[in-house]
């Protein structure tokens, strides 16, 4: 079916729109100046991209039209063999994608600090740990008291997530301490500032009620901050 050119508008209101709906539509069309910050964000995003070009002119279409190739069996086998050979050479020779210098290996699954030395970050752990080489680690205890998460339903599992374990919700389970009536775990961290949260039953993310609030995470949830001091190792 031939594609109709899009109408500039078919303004005869042949669908018989009720007046109240037309007024409502006018109400909905109000207002809204452009947000300069949002415009700037779009422009920042597009400036790094490849500049768009007008689509290929019609003269190229002949070259891209589908063709049928007829090959003898021997020629086809030879072509297939040569393609496999080229592919094998290419596959083994590839260095792979953009060789981005890893800023940090973001947290192994067991929650301990990372000892690999990233190219651009200080040694001894996550780059936003205090600089120092090698950074001594300090044992930091994380506690979530039971009354703080009361909402009528019992919690059967709590895990710790944060900068130090790649925000992996399964990496650092906490244990229930019946005497203290709290969920607890300890993590060894170099001095620095860390953002973290608790995940309840794999679904609910809660900030630590006893800790400073982190800035808004940008994703609609709240996190907490712990600062591990270099001299004493105290966490605040």
């Amino acid at each position: 079916m031939r594609e109709e050119p899009w109408d500039v508008s078919d303004e005869a209101d042949e669908d018989g729109t009720p007046p109240v709906v037309r007024q409502a539509a006018a109400h909905l069309r109000r207002g809204g100046a452009s947000d300069e910050r949002a415009v700037a964000a779009v422009m920042a995003a597009v400036r790094g991209r490849r500049a768009p070009r007008r689509s290929r002119p019609a003269s190229w279409r002949r070259l891209t039209a589908a063709r049928t190739w007829h090959l003898s069996p021997l020629a086809a086998a030879g072509l297939a063999a040569s393609l496999v050979g080229v592919g094998a050479l290419g596959a083994f020779g590839l260095r792979g994608g953009v060789d981005r210098a890893p800023a940090v290996a973001v947290g192994p699954a067991d929650g301990r600090t990372v000892d690999t030395a990233p190219q651009t970050a200080p040694t001894g752990g996550p780059a936003f740990a205090s600089q120092g080489d090698p950074a001594p680690t300090h044992v930091v205890r994380f506690v979530l008291a039971a009354p703080s998460v009361s909402s009528g339903s019992a919690v059967s599992r709590v895990t710790l997530v944060g900068d130090f374990n790649g925000w992996n919700a399964e990496a650092t389970p906490m244990r229930w301490d019946a005497a203290a009536r709290a969920w607890m775990t300890v993590v060894a961290l170099p001095a620095g500032r860390y953002v973290y949260a608790f995940v309840l039953d794999g679904r609910r993310w809660v900030a630590d009620p006893a800790a400073p609030l982190a800035p808004e995470d940008g994703f609609g949830a709240s996190n907490s901050v712990v600062v591990v001091a270099p001299a004493t190792g105290g966490a605040t």
């Binding site: 109709e4 050119p5 899009w6 109408d7 500039v8 508008s9 078919d10 669908d15 729109t17 009720p18 109240v20 709906v21 037309r22 007024q23 409502a24 539509a25 109400h27 909905l28 069309r29 809204g32 100046a33 452009s34 947000d35 300069e36 949002a38 415009v39 964000a41 779009v42 422009m43 995003a45 597009v46 400036r47 991209r49 490849r50 500049a51 768009p52 070009r53 007008r54 689509s55 009354p147 703080s148 998460v149 009361s150 909402s151 309840l200 679904r203 609910r204 993310w205 809660v206 900030a207 009620p209 006893a210 609030l213 808004e216 994703f219 609609g220 949830a221 709240s222």
Partner: protein, 190 residues
């Protein structure tokens, strides 16, 4: 966006040609012209400010990449809204998958900030009656109504934007209008 390059008097098609000619900054004219309108549409479709902002940003980035395929015979509005409608549909589908994450009610936690959560997942937004009525429409009816009566697209444009047939679109618009009339009778009585 400032008019330092004298772009304000240019048509959309003129601006597109400038961008394709290498004047990347000219794209800001199109973004400034359409951002608020796109955001308005996306917010009403997605009912979530953050998701709407993301969808609109993604729309403009994809539009930039695809600018070489824009042809002047169609309105830039409709061309842009085709991308926006798809982005909103994709965002809605992603949200459906994401809603298994239940984020805590901070008021239940000692030391939570008084202001509560931001406009992240599922935050309630106060609405006037008209907005509320539109929000209560079924998604496809809402989409059709907004495109037709708020964004002013013609039915043939809407076909290109939504991929739906002409009669289906007209039916959706009619059902949306009938539903809104029922909800809004008396709203505008003096």
């Amino acid at each position: 966006m400032s008019d330092a390059h004298g772009h304000a008097a240019l048509t959309d098609a003129n601006v597109v040609e400038r961008v394709l000619g290498g004047d990347t900054d000219a794209y800001a004219v199109l973004v400034s012209r359409y951002h608020a309108r796109c955001l308005r549409y996306a917010e009403r479709i997605l009912r979530n400010r953050a998701d709407a902002e993301d969808a609109v940003q993604e729309t403009f980035i994809r539009a930039y990449d695809a600018l070489g395929r824009y042809e002047e015979r169609s309105r830039f509005t409709a061309w842009l809204f085709r991308i926006l409608v798809n982005q909103c549909r994709a965002a809605a589908a992603r949200r459906g998958r994401r809603e298994r994450w239940v984020l805590t009610d901070e008021a239940a936690v000692l030391g939570a900030p008084a202001e509560g959560s931001t406009d992240g997942y599922g935050a309630a937004v106060p609405l006037d009656r008209v907005e509320q009525a539109v929000a209560e429409l079924e998604p496809l009816l809402r989409e059709a109504f907004l495109l037709r009566h708020v964004e002013g697209l013609g039915y043939n444009e809407m076909r290109g934007v939504t991929g739906a047939g002409l009669s289906a679109l007209k039916m959706r618009v009619k059902r949306a209008c009938d539903a809104l009339r029922g909800k809004l009778e008396g709203v505008y009585d003096a």
